[in-house]
Symmetry: C2
Subunit: 335 residues, 2 copies
């Protein structure tokens, strides 16, 4: 019976929270999204996340607590669901502990130290709950439901933060520390900018949406850039670069050059067939992809580059929810 | 019967050639080593490599061409071996094609473009021959015969060149391009020194023996360093740094700092239980290991660092031969 049950998927980003019900074939049956408002702190944000998940579940026809199986097992008569859910998958910025579902102070979620997110979700929905690094989860979603036709891919999210996940030989890479690869913390400039992780020169300190905006603000200070006076976002940098502002253009070009170099490193180390770029910053489309792809494939070692391509995710904003759903199906062992 | 047969292992480095006969339990039954003299070009070097392999085989009791099985299959009466060999494993600098045994122009072996090394070795010894990137092979040797007791390790060789290999969940990582990870081409300084691969700022451009010597020569020029006037090697840099020469010390400290940062990247991306450092430059011992280990574990993401340690290989110069032998056993499918 659980073969037919969809899962609820929750995506906790530094900028937005998303929730959706996802069927086994990757069909998104409901989707809701709100701002994270990370400044409110973990207690308030988690409460809104849980409410959002319930809203998504109800929109998909769910009418109560727990799956049919869980309700029977518990002996409760409450919530005989019209559309029982099999589980909840949660994607969240890392580091976190997938075994316990505890969030371990991600740079993009200030104050989220030792937040027992998995337990809080499981308690609210009465369902088996599986927590994974959001970018790691998204890699599995890309593998499972994007039709790329490859067994080896790396997914990189250029979002509020910057991270990624690895699928090798059709399996999600976990690693000894079960972080699934901290790809945002590939160094590109060993004595460069301070990264939120404490080290210097990580890619995340340059190419995350936050870092792009911060670098632009520094570059614009005291200049006549069209960005001057704005509360600059990465989207502003892309837009003003496209419109011809030289300072926005310089910041954007450095971003794509550095991301291209970082992707070349990933191609060299992981030798995937595909590097998939997703996350909010990739809404810039070809303005991002073309220079990154060119730089990455030119600078990677020739045999590794020849075996690989660099593309944009086809899933847009839903990539996080699909990833969290893929984790739920994977952990349920039904794949 | 092949269960008891040892393998011949050949190790092609930019500085030395090594050959040995290795039993299934990792016992080295014979070992020979000569200088590569890479300037002589591939034809002359390969001939000396084959002679060296024959010498190692004969020292281990081999008395003729081909294994017992191969001789029977070929119908030849020549070489009824007292100690039949099961196969030949060859480790060589990459890029190369493990499927065909063709060497594809490694930076450390100038002129080795499209050298059919596997075919040449197979022809000489009349044995199944398996070619692999030397550092990739060494990772498997470390996994198989070092008693580390881990299932996930990364081996990095700091030798004439700089490279590495990955064992994940007890399996040698191959990659879509079958290069096993081009770990020497992890970038540390994206606009930095030109690397032999064509890109800028790869770790190999800083921490290989060749690069350490070159950086020292640049730093010493016009100075009163005790290194002045020497044809500087990486060993000289280590020795003079230990003796207190400030310029040698600065070059060495930058080397260990940069290698430490690179190892932190490897810990972040690959999340191994162990990073094993080998190769000629690691003969510096604690002078290399201590600062590299400290920097790597301090700068890697805390969960990944907590799951990992950084150590020196226990095999010294024989690590290349053991790696090549491990590849032979692996490919024979007897592991």
């Amino acid at each position: 019976m659980t073969q037919q049950q969809p899962v609820l998927a929750l995506d906790v980003g530094g900028t937005k929270l998303a929730a959706g019900v996802v069927a086994r074939d990757g069909t998104i049956q409901s989707y809701c999204q709100i701002e994270t408002a990370v400044g409110e702190g973990p207690t308030a944000v988690v409460k809104r996340l849980l409410d959002l998940g319930e809203q998504a579940a109800i929109e998909a026809g769910w009418s109560g607590r727990g799956s049919a199986g869980a309700v029977e097992a518990g002996g409760s008569s409450r919530g005989a669901a019209e559309v029982p859910l099999a589980a909840v998958g949660v994607g969240c910025g890392g580091p976190l502990d997938p075994a316990t579902g505890v969030i371990l102070g991600p740079p993009g979620l200030p104050g989220w130290d030792a937040v027992p997110l998995g337990a809080l979700v499981a308690e609210r929905f009465g369902l088996p709950t599986y927590v994974e690094n959001d970018a790691t989860a998204a890699a599995l979603g890309e593998y499972r439901w994007s039709g790329w036709g490859v067994e080896n891919l790396v997914y990189l999210t250029v979002s509020t933060g910057f991270g990624g996940g690895i699928v090798a030989s059709g399996k999600l890479f976990q690693g000894a520390a079960r972080q699934g690869g901290e790809l945002g913390h590939v160094v590109v400039d060993w004595q460069g900018r301070q990264c939120g992780c404490g080290a210097r020169g990580c890619a995340e300190a340059y190419v995350s949406g936050t870092s792009i905006a911060r670098r632009a603000a520094e570059a614009v200070a005291g200049s006549d850039s069209t960005l001057a006076g704005l509360a600059i976002t990465a989207k502003d940098v892309a837009d003003h670069a496209r419109a011809g502002d030289p300072i926005a253009r310089a910041v954007w070009d450095e971003t794509t050059a550095m991301l291209g170099r970082m992707v070349a490193v990933i191609i060299n180390v992981c030798e995937p067939e595909l590097v998939v770029l997703g996350g909010g910053v990739t809404r810039a489309g070809a303005q991002l992809l073309d220079p990154v792809r060119e730089a990455a494939l030119r600078q990677a070692m020739p045999p590794a580059a020849a075996a690989c391509d660099v593309v944009l995710s086809r899933h847009g904003e839903a990539v996080g929810v699909l990833g969290a759903a893929a984790i739920a199906y994977e952990r349920l062992g039904e794949s």
